[in-house]
Assembly symmetry: C2
Homo-oligomer: 333 residues x 2
Amino acid sequence: MPASQYDVLGIGNAIVDVIARTEDDFLIQHGMHKGTMALIDEPRAEAIYASMGPAAQISGGSGANTIAGVASFGARAAFVGKVKADRLGRAFTHDIRAIGVTFTTPPALDGPATARCYVLVTPDGERTMNTYLGAAQNLTPADIDERAIAAAGIIYLEGYLWDPPQAKEAFRKAAEIAHGAGRKVALTLSDAFCVDRYRDEFLNLMRTGAVDLIFANERELHSLYQTSDFDTAVAALRADVTLAVVTRSEKGCVILAGPSGEAVPAAPIDKLIDATGAGDLFAAGFLTGLARGKDHKTAARLGALAAAEVIQHLGARPEVSLKDLAAENGMPI
Amino acid sequence: MPASQYDVLGIGNAIVDVIARTEDDFLIQHGMHKGTMALIDEPRAEAIYASMGPAAQISGGSGANTIAGVASFGARAAFVGKVKADRLGRAFTHDIRAIGVTFTTPPALDGPATARCYVLVTPDGERTMNTYLGAAQNLTPADIDERAIAAAGIIYLEGYLWDPPQAKEAFRKAAEIAHGAGRKVALTLSDAFCVDRYRDEFLNLMRTGAVDLIFANERELHSLYQTSDFDTAVAALRADVTLAVVTRSEKGCVILAGPSGEAVPAAPIDKLIDATGAGDLFAAGFLTGLARGKDHKTAARLGALAAAEVIQHLGARPEVSLKDLAAENGMPI
């Protein structure tokens, strides 16, 4: 197997977040499920924007946030995702390249606008997301560069890719190329409702060995196995995949690797400002650690560190160098 | 004099900030003067954007930030400024209306794009600004609604309005209408280099009584009177205008009202994150206090409170209700 060109290559929906603070009442009035992601059409997007408060625009997208985090750790990172050649698309492209990620997917020249996610942050720091997929729907298998995929140590895929009609084919193509080249394939379950939409397909990916590593939070895990019992769900997950990490917010995470299970605590924070990106940045740290040959526990500690950074400010991308942060915490990358 | 419809009406450049963290080296490499505002053309704007880091887009504009702050205090606020009918212009319009400001200036349908300010925030929290004025250059006296001006208790004008060619005429027209209606006119000196460009005109506005209240920070004050001696500059300012407030960052401010001078301390903060908007939000608190009949010292304390809020996060608009913050600090509006 040749040396890798990238430590991690991610494929995901290329999205710009439009983030506003709000009260819980707003979520209720607009029929939103707190803490989850809903897909919306353009009229609904306009209606939400018109009624929400002053907003900051910051590049987002779950997989893109993770890959931005990997680059911030100083690892070699690439991203595949579809924007339109419009103002938001240029902002997305600028931001992901500026943090050091290789991003060369050609933008769509016509069709719907660059994807936006309206993120409502309540006083408890929880985020509720409404995504207009726009141009992200046009990601197709043709956007998968075989050489780039085969040259990445780990391919990272977001469960949200099951939403745009052709992206799942891009996902499958990438996973096949990666395994053909002897690489690892990781998948995040993304969101409890997303799991509910694609439960059987996700389980099938795991049971057929199409993915080697699963990231899930507790809600996604419970949704996957349709149980409210944590231990039952963990036992099922352990049987279905070689390696998994279950994140549990302030309770830290549990690493499941074959018969063994190891808990790693969350990193301390001063104040939770905005939970957006917590899971994405956890994955960034874990993947970076794995790609750089760290043991699972150290990888999870890197994930916890990155998650703690991102939830202490608005927006889902790191605001400081994660490489510096890791070094300061005794885990040089 | 009829009752006022607005407590404060502001006129300024309608700008969206594009904010990134950077190291001091970046400023040196790009020939920027730390802590100041430079006007740039579109090619320079593109060059700066291409070389700067991942950026957040948040509505800004000095006068607009102040008026957003006035609205956040729960006072009645209106803003006059020019955007283009493009994506950034819609974001600016959404954000200022969403915080409760009346904003009805018609957007430009053609010509240059909505104004952008590339804000570079260094690790010390200081901000360095590069403004592409774009559509803001098209603000003209025709955009000044006589009835709205005459119906505002205080008109607030930014010194930056001297930069776009026709805006100073809009400024002069507004000041005349306001005084004709028995209202007060306030001016912020905006920036030390801005003062250097228009020193004689600003002094003339003060000495002819065209403005009643001046906001200046120490650097602007020293630039105005071309002296490095604070006491000399303060004495000169006291002679030139009825009421002035000189802001001194962490040293608080000095209120100059005729022969008397009173110092008010800064409000305590945990950590300086981004100084952008400190002066703008100080003005918001002071103007709100004045409009609501508070004494000068209480008005300055409201200003200090708002400035402390805005410098503890990225962006120049308040992230919490200043009305609630004022009430929590024993100064209900």
